[in-house]
């Protein structure tokens, strides 16, 4: 993947292909290595990491590329998840095929992105953040209360027994033996998610380096100038929202099918913030960074679960509950990143320069542009 290797290696095609091959083998073997080393639970966690990579890349289009702060991103995830859940579960007795519903769910989420974006995108910065936050909550509360008068979402109980992904009649949740290798549900889902994640990464990279991607960046840099240069800023921002929402809806459908159960609890504000943190922590606008952020922030909280038993072992009791510790450490980690690496853990080379003013001239320029912004 782009950015994983130094430029020098890129120029040598053979080395690049070799590295690509090694990476591919690693990615294919990963669930087996993880299962051998850490157990089956971690394969599931790996699946979730893939899911969050997709979500984070979707949000990265909105926040990282176009510079629009969206605090209600999880709403699109919820739309995708519930769309699949309602049409492929005993809730209405409908069992439409996964492969038809998945793109439709992404499409519906895209539509919601446009619906939310159309009236709100004239707002900027903090105001946009507040409105999107409200939208996220509205969707969640709707899902929570849409069990009467007609029971659509089954309210807080959520929808259960959602159809699993089927590939050629085989439910992905069931173990299967291929060429003498036992493939469990989580393993199979890993490969499915990996494939889709690679597609999402591909689309995100292509978008970033396109006419549209440049228009997004221009809007992020200076909306007035972008508009004056002939960019239809409202439509282009709407496009960013719609693309982000599409990825969110895709993730939602996968989540519902993988989990077999959805409830409004999965789509809280905390979830939106979590995904935003993945984007910011990894390196806003930089695709490899965002992937890293998503993987790290999915894995770390799970790793913290071991802190409980560890305390039991060491001091004979659980002094600090790991779930309390999780939020604490999370907060500390964010503050540390803000202080010492505001550009994110793995920023693009450009963004790294941008947040590290290296000469007085540049500092002066920044102050000037701040002054301009206020005028």
């Amino acid at each position: 993947m782009i950015g994983l290797l130094p430029d020098r290696l890129y120029r040598d095609r053979r080395i690049a292909w070799a590295a690509f091959g090694v990476l591919a083998v690693l990615l294919i073997a990963l669930p087996f290595l993880v299962e051998a080393g850490l157990g089956r639970t971690w394969v599931r966690i790996l699946d979730f990491a893939m899911l969050y990579v997709m979500l984070a890349l979707g949000l990265n289009i909105v926040v990282g590329f176009a510079g629009l702060l969206d605090l209600g991103y999880v709403a699109f995830y919820a739309v995708g998840a519930y769309f699949y859940a309602i049409l492929a579960s005993p809730q209405f007795g409908l069992h439409l095929p996964f492969w038809a519903l998945l793109p439709m769910g992404a499409g519906i989420a895209c539509l919601f992105g446009v619906l939310l974006g159309a009236p709100t995108l004239r707002l900027r910065g903090d105001y946009l953040a507040i409105v999107t936050l409200g939208f996220g909550e509205i969707i969640r509360i709707f899902l929570n209360n849409l069990n009467a008068p007609v029971n659509v979402t089954n309210g807080p109980q959520g929808i259960n027994m959602i159809d699993p992904v089927r590939i050629g009649g085989h439910a992905l949740t069931r173990p299967i033996e291929i060429l003498g290798v036992q493939i469990s549900g989580p393993h199979a889902h890993y490969y499915l998610f990996l494939g889709l994640t690679l597609l999402v990464i591909f689309a995100a990279i292509r978008l970033q380096h396109s006419r549209i991607g440049r228009a997004w960046a221009a809007i992020r840099e200076d909306e007035v100038a972008a508009e004056a240069m002939g960019i239809h800023t409202r439509n282009v921002k709407l496009l960013a929202f719609a693309m982000g929402a599409t990825f969110g809806g895709l993730g939602g459908g996968l989540f519902a099918a993988f989990q077999g159960f959805v409830s409004p609890e999965s789509f809280t504000l905390m979830e939106s913030i979590m995904i935003l943190c993945m984007v910011v922590l990894g390196g806003m606008g930089h695709i490899p960074g965002v992937i890293l952020g998503a993987v790290l922030l999915t894995m770390l909280p799970e790793a913290l679960r071991y802190v409980g038993p560890l305390q039991q072992e060491l001091i004979g009791r659980v002094a600090v509950d790991p779930s309390d510790l999780r939020m604490l450490l999370f907060g500390v980690a964010l503050v540390l990143v803000m202080l010492f690496r505001p550009q994110g853990l793995w920023p693009s080379s450009m963004r790294a320069r941008e947040l590290r003013p290296d000469n007085p001239d540049q500092v002066r320029q920044e102050q000037e542009s701040l002054y301009d912004a206020e005028r």
């Binding site: 591909f202 689309a203 292509r206 978008l207 396109s210 006419r211 549209i212 991607g213 440049r214 228009a215 960046a217 221009a218 840099e221 200076d222 007035v224 100038a225 972008a226 508009e227 004056a228 240069m229 002939g230 960019i231 239809h232 800023t233 496009l239 693309m243 450009m350 963004r351 320069r353 941008e354 540049q362 320029q365 000037e368 542009s369 301009d372 005028r375």
Partner: protein, 267 residues
Amino acid sequence: MTPSAERDGGGGGEPLLAARAVTKRFGGLTALSEVSLTVQVGEIVGLIGPNGAGKTTLFNCFTGLYHPSAGTVHLEGRPLAGLKPHAVAALGLARTFQNIRLFANMSVLENVMVGRHVRTRAGVLGAVLRGPRTRAEERSIRERSLDLLDGVGLGGRADQLARHLPYGDQRRLEIARALATEPKLLALDEPAAGMNHTETAALKGLLETIRGRGVTLLLIEHDVRLMMDLCDRVAVLDYGRKIADGPPEQVQRDPAVIEAYLGAGAA
């Protein structure tokens, strides 16, 4: 107003830009009061006036950033009323900004490539699939942008961040970016501000080259010598009113202009 009415007042031929009695009020303040201005195809027209005279406000009224409280603006006979800036740019009126507004954290080349947006088509599907047409378009965007950078003398700096350019280069980059939109009329807001003599002389050459390529120029500038050397016609604003309009030598001698600049009694 009809274009034909304007034709009688202008210097022959349909004017490229025709502003008729443009008034702009901000609350109780009248920033522009019935300003009329025409720009003919191929002209270089200068707009001068003391600070706060309303020059930039007039520019903003032309480019859709502001909407005039009264009066009309036509570009090639088409009314600009109610159009947003991107639509004005699409019609062929591009501008630069007094307080440089580059895309600071994009490369010099990318800044110009953004200017090509309005003349190109590739959408999301094209971007993701990157078929032959998109690839050809992308290639032409890049080549055209590099040409424009060469044209303003920034060819060697294509990969730098725009913010790292020296001041004068930033101004020229703004011109290249505006030219990338293929304007018929290029409106420059103080292009020589902050430049030294050598840079200003080079700028003059550049602007003449641009005019030679068929782009009409309207510019705000404080450098009187540059204006006198460069412009075919100069209009003077003072307190939101147009007080003079004519060839530079004539405007220079106009008592009203001298009074505006030096105060009453100086004339």
